[in-house]
């Protein structure tokens, strides 16, 4: 179907965007890649009076190493993250996750920051940045502020961002010596929303796991750290008993709701499967 009428302005600069958003308030929506917004408008689920196009902010597009972090600009396209040698080297989790995002045509336009700001619980990037202990850099007319990923995702399609703010970049710690990262998701068809997904990383020392991070997508209203399972996996030598403890801990702490295709029980089972596979992958590589 065709979207309702709206006006469209290309913001010349972040400052210009902040002025427009302040002036128009709820009547305006920001468009960057537009891969979610335009589908929403085509279905008439939203009727803004004005779109403010921020895609032209060149300074917000780059991917670069800055000291101890990899900085990914909010306007980097998914396909740029997918094919970046810096991402492959310093945050391989993202390179593994990227091909699961929709399909190539959507990845060519959709933006890294757009997906983070929209915070779909089934999205890949939110779970990844949560697992990576990343920092989100938020800009507004008043300046910049930083929010840890753990504090950024607050609920269904809800983040720490306030009206009038724009996500500018994401800073990701470079993968450390001895650290491994693994992303996997289960969906009914290639490119579908995940039924369950897991962004995992850990330091591997012999047959022990340290600093384990398990961030699940599609298991709640936001990406979820399975902290009890993480704690169970850490510490001593990894063996079947430890995996069984972690499995029990995971099933106790997860509380998904039924979705369109799978019951809560099925989703929990899939989450446990993903964890088992991720641990095997982390230990082997």
């Amino acid at each position: 179907m065709k979207s309702p009428a709206f006006d469209y302005i290309r913001a010349d600069s972040p400052q210009h965007a902040f002025e427009l958003l302040a002036k128009h308030g709820d009547d305006a929506r920001v468009i960057a890649g537009g891969q979610t917004l335009l589908a929403t408008l085509n279905m008439r689920l939203s009727q803004p009076a004005l779109l403010v196009d921020i895609a032209g902010f060149g300074a917000w597009r780059g991917i670069a190493v800055q000291g101890p972090t990899l900085r990914i600009g909010a306007l980097a396209r998914h396909s740029e993250v997918e094919s970046s040698p810096l991402v492959a080297r310093h945050a391989p989790l993202l390179a593994q996750a990227a091909p699961h995002i929709a399909h190539r045509a959507i990845r060519n336009l959709g933006t890294f920051g757009g997906a983070l700001a929209y915070a779909d619980p089934a999205a890949e990037w939110p779970a990844c940045v949560l697992a990576l202990d990343a920092t989100l850099v938020i800009a507004s007319a008043k300046g910049e502020r930083r929010v840890a990923a753990a504090d950024f995702f607050q609920g269904l399609y809800t983040t720490a961002m306030q009206p009038g703010e724009l996500l500018m970049a994401c800073e990701i710690p470079l993968i450390a010596d001895g650290e491994r990262q693994h992303f996997s998701e289960l969906s009914r068809r290639q490119g579908d929303y995940a039924v369950a997904g897991l962004a995992a990383r850990a330091k591997v020392v012999g047959s022990r796991l340290r600093e384990v991070r398990l961030a699940f997508l599609s298991l709640g209203d936001r990406p979820i750290r399975a902290r009890a399972a993480e704690a169970a996996l850490q510490g001593g030598t990894f063996d079947d008993a430890r995996l069984a403890q972690a499995d029990a801990a995971l099933r106790a702490e997860l509380d998904p709701f039924d979705d369109l295709t799978h019951s809560a029980a099925a989703k929990k089972q899939l989450a446990a499967t993903l964890m088992r596979r991720a641990v095997a992958a982390l230990l082997q590589r």
Binding site: Q35, A39, N42, A102, I106, L109
Partner: protein, 179 residues
């Protein structure tokens, strides 16, 4: 400012299949409607209009996009190529021939989108195996063929490329400047 009761418009300048065009369009008009209605290019098709079927796949600045998920206004100042391009490269022509040879179309509705998606694969994933071709093409739906013939056609062109058939047409990397 409430939702406008009239529909705001904007003048856009888009290079379409090598020709600079200037049109006055509603801001809400998406690229595929712009191409079909304002540029008279009926070769690309509309299916679901929310980004899942791939029938509207066209190229923006040398990369495939969903025509229903881009506004004509966003394409202002940029370059669009469709299956009707008067200067198809050897790879596109080879794909078209392969589709015919392998019976990879019946009604033809999905075909322009399939060709655009396949072209980007051939250009950017020359080592793709059959499974990877299937993954890549999974964003384009077909109701007629059952898909295998389409995958056969794409794989055949990948083989031709490996044998050096397109060696005199190097692939351009995608433009830096994007909408």
């Amino acid at each position: 400012m409430k939702t406008p009761t009239d529909s705001p418009t904007r003048r856009v300048r888009v290079e379409v299949n090598g020709t600079p065009l200037v049109r006055e369009v509603e801001c809400r008009k998406h690229l595929i409607d712009f191409l079909r209605e304002d540029c008279g290019l009926k070769g690309s098709h509309l299916g679901c209009e929310h980004g899942v079927c791939g029938a509207c796949t066209v190229r923006l600045d040398g990369q495939i996009v969903r025509g229903c998920l881009v506004l004509a206004a966003q394409a202002d100042g940029h370059r669009v190529d469709t299956v009707e391009t008067p200067t198809p490269g050897k790879r596109l022509k080879a794909l078209q021939d392969a589709f015919v040879e392998h019976n990879a179309l019946q009604c033809g509705y999905c075909t322009p989108g399939m060709l655009m998606a396949a072209l980007e694969l051939v250009e950017h994933k020359p080592e793709a195996d059959r499974a990877q071709v299937r993954e890549w093409m999974s964003g384009n739906y077909c109701r007629c063929t059952g898909y295998h013939a389409i995958v056969d056609a794409v794989c055949a062109v990948l083989e031709q490329q490996k044998a050096g058939r397109f060696a005199d047409e190097p692939v351009d990397s995608a433009d830096e400047v994007r909408a």
